[in-house]
């Protein structure tokens, strides 16, 4: 190992540091530490002359380690790292001692603060001794994208990516594109045509030269990591004669937009779905409306229609979450039924009216204007549907404790519409396993950060969009699909993925394959090599948190720039002064 020549620079930060900390004394002290070649103070280390000085010294005095005692590294670590780069020194051979935010600004006693600053500087000198030259690595980024699910989200994302000139593989399980939206006629609250929207998307997808659509197909296997996945796609048994042999495609990123499935209304026993003929689900009603023929099973035009919200949603028994779109859809139905059968009376039995989006409240108001009768029930006190007696002049009676009046009431109904909620698809677990993403208790895919990364997952290169993440309406789904596309476009634009140098790595000589680290990584960066029987970290996925480093019982994992040695020597340094 070459001789250690450390340069120590103590910043005065005007008087910000110098007022409290005796910077000269610190420089003096630093000079006494073995391995320190020089120690200087300066008024503003971060200023151009200050940086210039460091660059000069590195060249002149052949310094190979730099310690800057100044402000928080959050503020100027980048500045000084670039100074090192300019001087031709690896930027990671720098260590900062934070003697401003965590010393001069928080302590008043000069003596104590100077002592502490000394310790901080000494620790930095001790630590920097073990710093290593680190280089960031880059991996190839394949511009092709695999999209799972050909609903509105999948098609939107596909078009967005393909329009930007990238090859897209769109895998759809059914024999047609469109997903759940294909069952919808008009969209709430503006009653725009969902079918026109869908026709437009499908036509563009089918015509697009850069989109290859796999119908009747599913993803069989996904291997590799961001930028370098290979996926095999194959047809579902028995349904299509398309692809018997799996087709293997090279892709760089994956978007999962598998959507939702409707809640099975027959699970709610006291609604009698499947037993009472005129209790139907929202999708069945949608079909009737589309055919212009809203009738009871007996062929009569219903006089009283009741719409029950939150079927399967917001209940302890089934799903605790809100399905987000049903309230507006229910209002849409109320309007449609009333328009098609002006003599009809509509009761809308709800818990809370979730009319939160653009135009929603106005639509709710219009519905009131059209005399929809809104009746409120409580989450845990659901309505019960009975068959009516002939004298009741209606098909069914819905018994419910109406909360706003406090009355126990029965509502006449000839037709009952159950607003079935959304739930995760039954095959979502399979998808999650294939693409290595996680699911919450309800089966929805988990985003990597609910606020700031709503479409990314913990597996880099795998994105989620639309109703497979959580229930949402069309504009939100479209926005999410595009957001996922944006993520990928930004990545593709660079052709390579730069990986920050601060990742962790496994020493193969030490790893014995205990697999303790395998589950720890939140980013699925650790993979297990079944042949070598050793774990391996994909540096492109590693974010450098060091959880695995701390957990490796045989010290086989090294956390770059935060090695045991570095931390422990810093620790000893701190306690030595």
């Amino acid at each position: 190992m070459e001789e250690l020549r450390t340069g120590v620079y103590v910043c005065m930060c005007g008087t910000n540091i110098a007022k409290v900390v005796d910077v000269e004394a610190i420089a003096e002290f630093a000079r006494t530490v073995p391995g320190v070649a020089l120690a200087k103070t300066y008024k503003y280390m971060c200023s151009n002359p200050g940086q210039e000085m460091i660059v000069q010294d590195i060249r002149e005095h052949k310094l190979n380690r730099i310690v800057v005692a100044a402000c928080s590294p959050n503020m100027h670590e980048r500045t000084f790292r670039s100074a090192l780069r300019i001087a031709g020194l690896n930027q990671y051979l720098l260590e900062m001692a934070n003697i401003r935010e965590q010393c001069s600004w928080v302590h008043a006693d000069t003596k104590g603060a100077t002592e502490k600053a000394k310790a901080l500087v000494y620790a930095a000198i001790c630590r920097v001794k073990f710093h290593e030259e680190l280089e960031s690595v880059s991996v190839n980024m394949c511009p092709n994208v695999l999209i799972i699910g050909g609903g509105i989200a999948g098609m939107t994302a596909a078009l967005e990516l393909a329009d930007a000139g990238n090859q897209v593989y769109l895998v759809e399980k059914n024999d047609h594109l469109g997903g759940n939206l294909a069952r919808v006629d008009l969209t709430a609250p503006y009653l725009y045509s969902a079918r026109d929207l869908l026709t437009e998307r499908i036509t563009r997808v089918m015509e697009h030269k850069k989109i290859k659509v796999f119908l009747n197909s599913t993803l069989r296997e996904l291997k590799g990591f961001i930028g370098n996945f290979t996926a095999s796609v194959s047809g579902v048994n028995g349904t299509g004669d398309k692809t018997a042999k799996p087709e293997v495609v090279e892709i760089g990123n994956v978007i999962v937009c598998t959507g939702y499935k409707e809640f099975d209304a027959s699970r709610v026993v006291h609604y009698g779905y499947g037993k009472l003929p005129n209790v139907i689900t929202s999708f069945e009603l949608e079909k009737m409306i589309r055919e212009g023929n809203i009738r009871t099973k007996e062929g009569k035009i219903p006089k009283y229609v009741a719409i029950i919200h939150c079927v399967g949603s917001r209940s302890q028994e089934f799903h605790s979450y809100c399905s987000r779109v049903c309230c507006m859809t229910a209002l849409k139905y109320a309007h449609e039924i009333k328009s098609a059968n002006p003599g009809c009376y509509i009761s809308d039995i709800y818990i809370d009216m979730h009319a939160f989006g653009k135009g929603h409240e106005d639509f709710y108001r219009r519905s009131s204007e059209a005399k929809t009768l809104f009746l409120m029930y409580e989450k845990d006190d659901r309505p019960v549907i009975h068959k009516a007696e002939p004298k009741d002049n209606c098909e069914m009676l819905i018994e419910v404790n109406e909360k706003l009046s406090g009355e126990h009431i029965e509502i006449p109904a000839d037709l009952v519409v159950l607003m079935v909620g959304m739930e995760a698809r039954e095959d979502s677990h399979e998808i999650a396993r294939l693409v290595n993403i996680s699911q919450d208790n309800e089966g929805w895919f988990i985003e990597s950060h609910p606020k700031l990364e709503p479409v990314a997952t913990t597996t880099d290169g795998v994105f989620i969009a639309g109703t497979c993440v959580a229930p949402k309406d069309i504009p939100d789904t479209v926005a999410q699909a595009r957001a996922a596309a944006a993520r990928i476009l930004a990545r593709i634009a660079k052709e390579k993925i730069e990986v920050d140098a601060l990742f962790s790595e496994v020493n193969e000589n030490l790893c014995s394959g205990c697999r303790l680290c395998n589950t720890l990584c939140p980013f699925s960066a650790i993979e297990f090599d079944e042949i070598k029987k050793q774990s391996h970290i994909i540096s492109a996925l590693c974010k450098g948190c060091g959880v695995c480093v701390a957990a490796c019982p045989s010290a086989a994992i090294k956390g770059r720039h935060f090695t045991d040695l570095q931390v422990l020597s810093q620790l000893e340094g701190l306690l030595a002064v």
Binding site: D196, S339, K358, P450, K451, P454
Partner: protein, 600 residues
């Protein structure tokens, strides 16, 4: 196919002459009948069925701003007449942006497409103008930040214009974010720092767009950057200038509940992390350089230049993203809550700052204390860190929202943030009673319902029923309301009332809309091009909307939208097809395209 075109336009709208569109549609091929129907009462089903039968129409086109409202009527009529209900087509003027100068042509094209059975957007894809690779983003809140990073990370130049002295927007002011209760600063500040340090982002704070000209793909933008008076690069945020500044004004960042100086930093993590001078209160600037000026003398790095002047910056960009966000409704005009009259009636954003760990009380939730203003000799109320914690707090939802007199729309976030407040109060103040007055608990997002349930279980009294009055009884604030679910009128003695104030578009929205030629909806928010299909595009090519400025939404939705916009921008930059205004495509071109389109 024999087609009938029926116009169902409720009220006459500026820019569209129904008669003239009707005349046009009569000349379209296969059109058998064109009728302008009254919408109130809605068209009679029997009559329509008769018409369809008599004229043996195979296809019916309903035209108007919201033809969907009448679709069920026509579908029913079609079914009664024995026709194919799938052939009831909509020609939605509003949805497809028939507005502005080109409204008539567009309306005609929309009808033409519907008559031909082609979804309008298929025929009307604008293109052409080459795209400048730089992007202008107006507004440095979370939407602007997210969009900037997304685009800049792809290696494209971004100009981020922010009118205040720091980016961060409203989110930076928040303490915790619902429903995960993670700290807003922890997740936002790293992003802000990235923006500040990104080599592809030019950050222009204290700036406003003053004019925009040019066409899609190459907009020339004039930006006025107000003098900051402090050199951003050399300022080390040492605080000495602030120490000597004699001017004390209310801090905007703290929603007015604390005091700042005329030279100040909005908040410690501000980006750029440098001081700035508020020209509206600085003595030196107000007196034209006659008085004060001590900060410039005190600054050890001599980076204060009190004679700095405003700059005009010209940039050329291909795309513009509007992310101007929102403002809070002026609650003092809603008298019955006593805001301004009773010291401890606070708005949600004031409370947000109060409960924030970096706020004036260090996150302690207290009621206001009284002090005598030494200068004016008047009594004033302020939040003191030593203040008494409230024994009970009322949270009132829907203040100004869902109300025809103020905001007829729902502000979407208030329910959840009020629940969050309830949690924070319960957590920070022992033995406190918290009352929530709500109308509908709109807990619709991922994890929201569970959060609401958790708040209930924490012992917050959730009162279904709105409160419309805050009054004073024997020196004690009382909130009256109706607890509907328990069927009683209630009157609670409270020490603090937090009003969940509704959201309105930020003040410059109207001006900006005019400058950019973007329509706004009835509530004042920017209108998107197409509610379902293109929720972030606008009528103008290359101009996008993201986040709250389009309509109220929560952080995840805002972030998703901001990213979605970035997708649009990046796609334009790499597709090589260029962009144009949707509305500027001539009618003949759309007609011609529509004829060629095959529907899958």
């Amino acid at each position: 196919m024999r087609t009938g075109v029926f116009f169902c336009q409720g009220e006459e709208r500026k820019g569209i002459n129904i008669d003239s569109v009707a005349k046009y549609s009569a000349n379209l091929p296969d059109v058998e009948t064109v009728q302008i129907l009254k919408t109130s009462p809605p068209p009679d089903i029997g009559y329509l069925a008769g018409q369809i039968k008599a004229l043996s129409l195979g296809r019916v086109v309903i035209a108007g701003d919201f033809p969907g409202y009448f679709k069920p009527v026509f579908t029913r009529a079609m079914a009664l007449a024995g026709g194919n209900t799938a052939e009831v087509r909509l020609a939605s003027f509003k949805e497809h942006g028939a507005r502005g100068e080109n409204a008539m042509d567009r309306a005609k094209a929309i009808v033409a497409c519907a008559v031909m059975g082609v979804p309008f957007p298929l025929a009307a894809v604008p293109g052409g103008n080459p795209v400048n690779h730089a992007t202008l983003i107006i507004g440095g809140g979370i939407a602007g930040i997210q969009a900037s990073l997304e685009i800049a990370n792809a290696g494209k130049q971004v100009y981020l214009v922010e009118q205040s002295g720091t980016i961060g927007g409203h989110m930076a002011m928040f303490d915790k974010t619902f429903p995960t209760l993670d700290c807003a600063a922890c997740i936002l500040t790293p992003k802000m720092v990235s923006v500040g340090q990104h080599e592809m982002i030019r950050l222009l704070t204290k700036s406003n767009v003053i004019s925009v000209s040019g066409k899609p793909g190459s907009y020339k933008v004039k930006i006025k950057q107000k003098a900051r008076f402090v050199d951003v690069k050399s300022c080390v945020a040492c605080n000495q200038c602030t120490d000597v500044c004699p001017v004390r004004v209310k801090s905007e960042f703290d929603a007015g509940i604390s005091i700042r100086k005329a030279i100040y930093i909005p908040f410690p993590q501000a980006v750029p992390n440098a001081y700035l001078i508020d020209e509206t209160s600085c003595t030196y600037i107000l007196t034209g350089g006659e008085k004060c000026g001590v900060c410039a003398k005190k600054c050890p790095k001599e980076c204060i230049n009190l004679n700095e002047t405003d700059k005009i910056i010209d940039v050329e960009v291909g795309t513009i993203i509007i992310a101007t966000g929102y403002e809070f409704l002026d609650v003092s005009k809603i008298e019955q809550y006593g805001y301004g009259r009773y010291p401890n009636v606070v708005t949600s954003i004031e409370f947000e700052r109060l409960t924030n760990a970096s706020g004036t009380t260090g996150g302690r939730i207290v009621t206001k204390s009284k002090r005598i203003n030494k200068k004016t000799g008047t009594e004033e109320w302020y939040f003191s860190p030593e203040g008494l914690p409230p024994r009970s707090v009322a949270l009132i939802h829907c203040v100004g929202s869902r109300n025809k007199k103020y905001n007829p729309y729902c502000s979407r976030v208030c329910c959840m943030y009020s629940l969050k407040f309830a949690h924070l109060i319960k957590e920070k103040v022992p033995n406190v009673s918290v009352y929530e007055f709500y109308i509908d608990m709109r807990a619709f997002g991922k994890g929201y319902e569970e959060f609401a349930e958790r708040i209930r279980q924490e012992g917050t009294f959730v009162v279904r029923g709105h409160s419309a009055s805050v009054s004073m009884k024997n020196n004690q604030m009382v909130v009256k309301g109706e607890d509907i679910l328990n069927d009683r009128l209630v009157e609670f003695e409270v020490d603090m009332v937090v009003l969940a104030v509704g959201l309105v578009p930020s003040p410059g929205t109207a001006e900006l809309a005019q400058m950019l030629g973007i329509p706004r909806d009835e509530d004042g928010w920017f209108s998107e091009l197409d509610y379902n299909g293109n929720p972030t595009d606008t009528d103008r090519g290359g101009i996008y909307v993201a986040g709250m400025c389009q309509a109220p939404k929560d952080i995840p939705d805002t972030v998703a939208q901001a990213s979605a916009v970035a997708a649009g921008v990046l796609k334009n930059l790499t597709s090589g097809k260029g962009i144009g205004h949707m509305s500027s495509i001539p009618l003949s071109e759309i007609e011609a395209k529509a004829k060629k389109i095959q529907i899958f």
